[in-house]
Amino acid sequence: MNYVALLPPVLMALFGCATLILDVLTRRHENRAWLAWFNLAGSLLIGLSLWRQWQALSAGQPVVALQDAIVIDGLSLFANALVWLSVVTLLLISYRYLDLVGEHHGEYYALALFAQCGMYFMAAGVDLIALFVGLELTSLSFYILVGFTRADRRSNEAALKYMLLGALSSAFVLYGFSLLYGLSGSTSLTDIAAAVKPDPFTTLATVTVVIGMLFKVSAAPFHFWAPDAYEGAPTPITGYLSVASKIAAFAVLVRLLTGPLAGAAAIWQPLLVFASIASITIGSIAALTQERIKRLFAYSGIAHAGYVLLGFIAGPPLGLQGIYVYLLVYAIMNGGAFAVLTSLRNHGIAGDDLTDLRGLSRKHPVHAALFAILLLSLAGVPPTAGFIGKYYILAALMRSGHITLAVLAAGYIVVSLYFYFRMIREMYLEPSEDRQPLAASLGVRLALAGAAAFTLLIGLFPQPALHGALTLLERNG
């Protein structure tokens, strides 16, 4: 038994449960924000335990646990670090928002940590059972978090739609898992890799698993839940959902498609080609007409998922490297953008409409400028990090000979410029309406400043990020 591999999820579960208990014990206190700081302290410990894993990995020790059901390698550590960043962002930006919507309960933080625990097992699991349990723990926590503002009918509706389609997609994945188990007689991914051969059985298993996972990363044509869930969920949760759950699902996809299902590439490749083109097209075009910010970000997220899928088509090693860089960049810029969106919510203002951005440049010039940087990055304009992410994916695609796909994807970047610039225009050019200042807490400022700084840093000096991606690839063997 290797404690290094199990320390982070144990800490997450412990702090989650402790939050629940402390919450009940201190019901009478009005101020709940300390729960956020308590969990931030917990996150610090979790971060340290992840750091400890990195050290063990650098020293070349194999880190496995639970009878080889989970393994710490470059992929899982990378995904967990990003999820960790996303949780820290969530904790920083949530407490003010929750006070404003009047739903400040300890369960919020506990569920966020339980979801993180689930994502840990998604990223680290190399056994069908561990993967499935992680996937479900994540999804169940997110269903509740999306519907957390119980009195809000839109939140109810979002939770229900997300939950139905999420459960359906989990069932698809699970059906594929049961077939894979039947094929190989084992739930370990390495044994399955040996048993995969081209027959109808494998085809069915691959198709169901891949479709289920495409649901989870909200790739078109399985994206219908995303705009609804994103719009109805509390804004910080939308950010968490759009970053962390996507990264964990992509980690599972990388694990499956480069491992056991690598032999079935002929089956999933056309599926992914279709899904990525559809995602980029639908995401970019549907975002053009949106009036609500979170819905717009949902479609932009669908398009981003499409770009990441292109990395799978390009194949290892360059495509995988592109995926790593892209996910890193996406996590940072989307996390930062949602910090801004969260602070738009104030007394009497929902902060959902594009028009709510008006006059931001005059009232809060610093926030507006940082948000503009993040938007430029999301659009993929140099010298921001978003450009580097898209560049590596497209370059990998060109190298692997998919010129048409690359040109098509690059074309849609131009389309996406329009709707990102629309937000910038609302901020800078539209006349200011009389409105209250932003509800920007200390946490939001920290998260925003950090995200914008990293976006520019990676954009201006891409070498460290690229180097990191290469190291991760090497450790993945």
Partner: protein, 93 residues
């Protein structure tokens, strides 16, 4: 295998075609049960217990999922007074 494939198909059809959300939930449970049949059958073919253990995990998770789903459904019903899928139209573009 055949039984489970049939159950899977019935479940997916149910999810796609039925309006009543409670029935949709039941259909999802059907899919999960088809998976269980698969797992247990395969476990018998391969002569070891891993599949059955997996099935136990699936049952536990299915129960948790049903509980969460019904909780959300009840919250929705309190606020809206309906469980029909096409009357949920607040979120549209």
């Amino acid at each position: 295998m055949v039984v489970s494939a049939l159950l899977f198909t019935v479940g997916v059809t149910g999810v796609l075609l039925r309006r009543n959300l409670v029935v949709v939930l039941m259909s999802i449970e059907l899919i999960l049960n088809s998976v269980n049949i698969n797992l247990v059958a395969f476990s018998r073919v391969h002569h070891h217990l891993v599949g059955q253990a997996f099935a136990l995990f699936v049952i536990a998770v299915a129960v948790a999922e049903a509980a969460v789903a019904l909780g959300i459904l009840i919250a929705l019903f309190r606020n809206r007074g309906t469980v029909l899928a096409d009357e949920l139209d607040l979120l549209k573009w």
